[in-house]
């Protein structure tokens, strides 16, 4: 936890960053402007001074000391305000002509320039202005000092600096405000996601993130998250359903098992009776194990973990093998089991699992059809159809029967775990196919298509 909760907010940090970037670049721009303006101005002055020196030096060469003195006097006379600096001295720096009473006492800088304070001759209160001058030694040993007062440059410089400071200040403020405004709108969207998440965590599982309908990135994020939540909820409900049913469906056989174990202790039991009870207890336990095994298998198949057993296989062969295996059972029940196999296309799959799937469908058909009806196994292409002429199942139950442990009310008393069709569906899905139930008029038709 920071001492400043404001700093933890992404909005604030983003605004700050935005401001620094924005303000920083403005400051750099302004700084450059200042440097360029001021630089050009002083360069101009320097050039003027140097041109002036050159002109005076030429005057001296042509007309000698009187000539240059005349020119300087003329110039000084034309500038009563003293914005220019002229001073001609003898070799010992004693003034000959000019508007400066004495040679400045300071030494020139490395470029040969002097910068000093010049008294303002327009006012009498002793105001000074900065002046810039360049000394020059004429051929005869005379010293010449030419300069300009740079009051204007100072003024412009101050003006530009002022503009730079204010401009940068304004930019920083604007940047901060803009940053806050921009990140606030982002933060609001994120906030709504956060709020919804918290509500879901608190148990309101059916809450969803609102979308604006603009289909921007945030809307897409919200839509994706909502889709994920929907999927999770479906899975969760399925899981809840399964565990409810496990509890319910395993209680009965466990109670029976317990009852049988209780019975073993009863006195006056013959050895034969006892053996029979033990055997039926074992059968009961085996049944329970078979249910668990089937559950684990379905889970494993649904996780897609059995693809490594995929190999090229013949679907027609599997179907006729199932028919061959179940034909005696059907016969015992008085049901005619017929098989019709058209040449099937070669396919890659797990033959054991497909056998199990087709066997489960055949088993169901035989189990739930009354005596005297027909069951037909049919294979064509990559589709296996198992149809019977029994009672069929109601239209609205055709999806439910694929759920784990789901059993129709009228079949509660037939043996079975309610897992057979779940396994068929898992196998179909593993093979990239599907299974559906249709009305056979009369009876039921299960269609298993692989891929």
């Amino acid at each position: 936890m920071t001492a400043f909760p404001l700093f933890r907010s992404a909005t604030f940090r983003l605004a700050l960053l935005y401001m620094l970037l924005f303000g920083g670049s403005a400051a750099i721009l302004m700084g450059f402007l200042y440097w360029a303006t001021a630089g050009v101005l002083s360069d101009q002055i320097d050039e003027t001074i140097q041109a002036d020196i050159k002109g005076l030096a030429e005057q001296y060469e042509q007309r000698g000391t009187p000539g240059i003195a005349a020119v300087i006097s003329e110039r000084v006379r034309r500038d009563p305000g003293g914005r220019t600096v002229y001073l001609l001295t003898d070799p010992l720096r004693r003034p000959l002509v000019g508007n400066l009473s004495a040679w400045p006492t300071l030494e020139p800088d490395s470029d040969g320039w002097l910068t000093f304070d010049l008294l303002d001759r327009d006012t009498a209160d002793g105001t000074t202005h900065i002046a810039r001058a360049r000394p020059f030694i004429l051929q005869g040993g005379l010293n010449l000092l030419v300069g300009r007062e740079v009051r204007e440059i100072e003024r412009i410089r101050a003006m530009v600096l002022n503009a730079v400071i204010w401009g940068t200040g304004f930019t920083l403020a604007l940047g901060f405000a803009g940053g806050i405004a921009m990140s606030r709108s982002t933060a609001r969207r994120i906030d709504s996601i956060n709020q919804t998440s918290r509500q879901i965590v608190d148990g309101n599982l059916d809450r969803r993130i609102p979308t604006r309908g603009t289909n921007d990135e945030f809307d897409q994020l919200a839509a994706n998250l909502n889709a994920m939540l929907d999927r999770n909820q479906t899975l969760l409900e399925g899981l809840r359903h399964v565990s409810d049913n496990i509890a319910h469906d395993l209680r009965t056989p466990l109670a029976r098992l317990r009852g049988k174990l209780d019975e073993i202790d009863r006195p006056n039991l013959t050895d034969d009776d006892r053996n029979r009870i033990v055997e039926s207890a074992i059968a009961e336990a085996d049944g329970l194990l078979a249910i668990f095994n089937a559950l684990l298998r379905i889970a494993q198949i649904e996780a897609g973990g059995r693809r490594e057993n995929f190999a090229p296989m013949d679907l027609a062969e599997v179907v006729s093998d199932v028919a061959e295996l179940y034909e005696p059972v059907a016969l015992v029940k008085g049901i005619t089991l017929a098989v019709r196999c058209e040449p099937t296309t070669g396919l890659t799959g797990d033959r054991d699992l497909l056998f199990q799937a087709v066997a489960n469908l055949a088993d169901n058909a035989i189990k739930y059809t009354p005596e005297g009806s027909n069951v037909v196994l049919h294979a064509a292409g990559t589709v296996v159809t198992v149809s019977d002429t029994g009672h069929g199942i109601p239209e609205d139950a055709k999806e439910d029967v694929f759920r784990r442990f789901h059993r129709l009310e009228e079949s509660r008393n037939t043996p079975g775990s309610g897992l057979g069709l779940s396994l068929v569906r898992a196998v179909a899905t593993l093979h990239g196919g599907k299974v559906q139930l249709e009305d056979n008029r009369p009876g039921l038709k299960a269609i298993l298509s692989i891929g």
Partner: protein, 228 residues
């Protein structure tokens, strides 16, 4: 038979060792992969029972190591419930059979006996005639006679009888029949195998005084001509 049991779960190991002793076998026991591999390479055994998941080298590594060094002792792999996938891996590693926990002792014994018989008679495929009592099977002519009377069998019934006759005197379980006669590994939801066996029984035993095919309660079937 001398049988090595490599199993780290004490309860399961106790259960197996007890069952093997009761069946007249001579079991040895190792509770980790290292000791198991050591015993298997240094001593002679008729069969191995190897758990898949073991501390030290796991079951598949042990079998692979043994096979690589030329040791062909038949090995039965045990695995936890629901690991359907592992069967193929186990057989690929050189295991001879595969059993999922929990299992009935009778299933384990039946499979071990079938395993040792299978590897004991290497000339089994060269055999053309199998006889159990007065029941004879000619594998070349695909003919079956009992007491000289020819019995007409469907191809699958013939295979079923052949498997029972090859394992005459030992129990074969329903799962073993499914795996060996039908060549599918799956859980039948109903007693499909029983119906096939009773059909075969009709043809083999019905018109004769002594029954050859017997049901072993809680285990499976056995074909034998004399009472044990």
């Amino acid at each position: 038979m001398r049988i090595l049991v490599i199993e780290d779960d004490n309860d399961v190991a106790d259960y197996i060792v007890k069952a093997l002793k009761e069946a007249g076998h001579n079991p040895s026991r190792a509770d980790n992969g290292k000791d198991g591999l050591f015993l298997a390479t240094t001593e002679e055994f008729d069969a191995l029972v190897v758990d898949r998941m073991l501390p030290g080298p796991d079951g598949l590594t042990i079998i692979r190591t043994l096979r690589a060094s030329g040791n062909d002792t038949p090995a039965l792999i045990l695995s936890a419930l629901g690991e359907v996938n592992d069967r193929v891996k186990g057989l690929k590693a050189g295991g001879d059979d595969y059993l999922t926990k929990p299992f009935a002792a009778s299933e384990l014994l039946a499979r071990l006996e079938a395993l040792t018989r299978r590897t004991g008679k290497s000339n089994i495929t060269a055999e053309t005639l199998i006889a159990v009592g007065d029941l004879e099977m000619n594998l070349l002519a695909r003919r079956v006679t009992r007491d000289g009377t020819e019995i007409d069998l469907q191809p699958r019934e013939f295979q079923l009888l052949e498997f029972l006759m090859r394992n005459a005197g030992s129990v074969v379980t329903r799962t073993m029949l499914l795996e060996n006669v039908w060549d599918y590994h799956f859980d039948p939801q109903t007693n499909v195998i029983d119906v096939h066996v009773s059909r075969l029984r009709q043809k083999i035993d019905k018109d004769f005084d002594t029954a050859l095919i017997h049901t072993v309660r809680g285990a499976g079937y056995v074909l034998r001509d004399t009472p044990p």
